[in-house]
Subunit: 201 residues, 2 copies
């Protein structure tokens, strides 16, 4: 299968790669460095330009979505907007545009995160957009064209990211990226659609 | 109790009024006609101006949130943005600004809708933002200041709105606005917080 991984440079993208490296993988990221292509998922023209270069694919993985973290009462308009533009609308954009380039019976796999199920302080924008993406996937699966499937991986914190997020997630058990990679593999190589693949310990 | 109902002109606002009419109710809406005040919830300055006029309240009800309806594959950037600005960010704005004007141990009650649980064609933006608001309420409840509570009413279609929405919701059983009013009353007069009050038949 030819698989496009957006956000391949990030730790979540690296986790997805662990589960999908045996395929023909094409990588993209915001900076483009060390990836095959550059893309800004907040810009539909940038997404379309990416797909025009990559051509038809069997699966699209989104492993990005920027979130701002702050206590709810001090969170600014800009922090909400940046998070929604990237993690929510950015991923929806990728599906909207990508529909024209995914093969019949291909698939999309998006990313959310466990904080909509296990909330912690300062993560309300992350939780809200994760809840939105989980809902989006459950509902839009019914109207994807040409047998295209869509799922979302909702992981807890990665072992590889524990040094960054561990302090804000006391009592959480991190999981190895390789386990999250298996969830991406299950979405891409399976027949499920409209599912939220929770990876938690 | 002094209760501010935003969106009091709409059918959902009228339903809320049915459950709360025995209180000191102050009403607001986008047009302001037949209401005490005018407000645009997509504009934080407009929300602050409203609260400056109304003063401290014991409860805030949001009964508005505009949604655009279309098949996912034809839905435009603008349709997504308008829906997110109103139904998602508009309601979050109301809580952010309103926190400064709600009495200790007061409450917010927001509105979502059953289509995130029972999806139908052309309602992906409604479903996605309803899922976001349900998640927002479940998670933000833990960090509301001064004992302030927050819940969301998630109703199915109203009997009073069946002529508008019935055709897109085959097999749904509408509920009377008075029953939805009781959910608002349960949120305002009870002690629950962080709950999604589903009203379905």
């Amino acid at each position: 299968m030819k698989i496009l991984i957006v956000g391949a440079n990030g730790l979540m993208g690296q986790a997805a790669l662990k589960g999908l490296a045996h395929h023909d993988v094409v990588t993209a990221s915001r900076s483009g460095s060390t990836c095959d292509h550059q893309v800004d998922i907040t810009n539909t023209a940038s997404i379309r330009a990416l797909f025009e270069k990559v051509g038809q694919v069997d699966a699209v993985i989104c492993a990005v979505g920027h979130c701002e973290y702050a206590p709810f009462v001090t969170m600014t308009d800009d922090q909400w907007r940046v998070t929604i533009e990237s993690k929510l609308l950015g991923q929806i954009n990728l599906v909207r545009v990508g529909c024209d380039y995914v093969a019949d019976c291909g698939s999309f796999t998006l990313i959310s995160g466990i904080l909509n199920i296990k909330p912690v302080p300062e993560a309300i924008a992350d939780a809200t957009t994760s809840g939105a993406i989980d809902t989006f996937v459950r509902c839009v699966a019914h109207e994807m064209p040409r047998g295209i499937r869509i799922n979302v991986v909702n992981p807890t914190v990665l072992e590889e990211a524990w040094d960054v997020y561990g302090a804000m997630m006391p009592g959480f058990e991190p999981v190895p990226g390789a386990l999250v990679g298996k969830a991406f593999q299950r979405s891409v190589e399976g027949f499920i659609s409209g599912e939220v693949l929770i990876v938690d310990a």
